[in-house]
Symmetry: C2
Subunit: 203 residues, 2 copies
């Protein structure tokens, strides 16, 4: 049981991979401390408050074209307890985007947990947040992760790697990363019951 609702801030940007952000969004936003379908109709027993954040509140286009309006821009985002940095081809451009990198660094310093999905870990690596740590990414970006920071112990076969920052493998493994964290914070029963609610066989 978490003492108070935690804020989950999910970064979004042009060419963010849809399932990278939508998977964790679904898991954190549907978690309830009370079992069943009725508890999902309100936020009463919700341990997390989930919102999207982008550099500005202008709509972004995810991979494939999905248009999302960010809930907050960098300047007006509320306190973030759990930061989720998703991946997608859009991360490549962000590797040189000082505004976004500075924001991730600042939020990460204040957050209880910093997490990434897929190639989101490249951004954490660029900031030195994975130095001398175990981490992973999408299978197509494993070499790039090493290239950005050779000190990273790159895990090629694990879906979720927790070594301070929590990184996960490609796309759909963000769902597993979210459940991993739900279990850590709210217990096994809450995580499993939420998985049952969204009919997701946890791995």
């Amino acid at each position: 049981m978490t003492p108070e609702r935690q804020n989950v801030g999910i970064l979004v940007f042009d060419d963010v991979e849809v399932l990278d952000f939508a998977g964790p969004y679904e898991v954190f936003s549907r978690t309830r401390l009370e079992v069943g379908t009725e508890s999902r109709r309100s936020y009463e027993s919700a341990p997390f408050r989930v919102f999207t954040v982008a550099s500005t509140k202008d709509p972004i286009r995810a991979t494939g074209g999905l248009q999302v309006i960010p809930d907050h821009g960098f300047v007006d985002a509320p306190r973030i307890d759990i930061l989720v940095v998703p991946g997608g081809f859009g991360t490549r451009e962000l590797l040189d985007d000082a505004t976004t990198l500075d924001w991730i660094r600042a939020v990460s310093e204040g957050a209880a947990r910093t997490t990434s999905v897929c190639t989101g870990s490249l951004l954490l690596a660029r900031l030195g947040l994975l130095r001398n740590r175990r981490a992973t990414t999408h299978w197509g970006a494993l070499e790039m992760l090493s290239a950005i920071d050779a000190s990273i112990d790159v895990r090629k076969t694990e879906r979720v790697v927790d070594d301070g920052p929590i990184t996960s493998a490609g796309v759909s493994s963000g769902i597993d990363m979210a459940f991993y964290l739900v279990e850590k914070l709210c217990g096994r029963e809450v995580a499993d019951e939420t998985a049952r609610y969204i009919e997701y066989p946890r791995r």
Copy 2:
């Protein structure tokens, strides 16, 4: 190999469950006939063109608050070959919404395949599209599905049911539904390779 690109229209509405629409969106939009990561950087070998449709182009709020701008309203949507009707608490209101029901019926008549995720099947049932057919829905809505149309052979333990309209169980099973259809239309190899791309162990 599909002869030409097929249009996948995904219905969105207030209180649509995030993963219900985002799962199929991810699968259909990332499918490529050419293997590897590079092929995902363009639409060259993409067998599907995916877009969201709502009653109007005004932003909708999915469950949990995610804000999405629909690509099209009912009046300006392009031809739809594959219709995806997701679920979520918002479907309850749509059961009495003549505009949405009429649109689903009209699109369904012209589409090659009509599909649903989770409680989206309640809307298909309301239209009589599942009469005397096998179908499924979220475990919390199995009785409601029968109550809407007692002639439906409700499958309580299957994730994906294909009996003309393709219905799927709760939330995350929409991903499996999409892969089922990708395999049917593009072959097993394409479906499996796309699953590997998004690191999703197919069920």
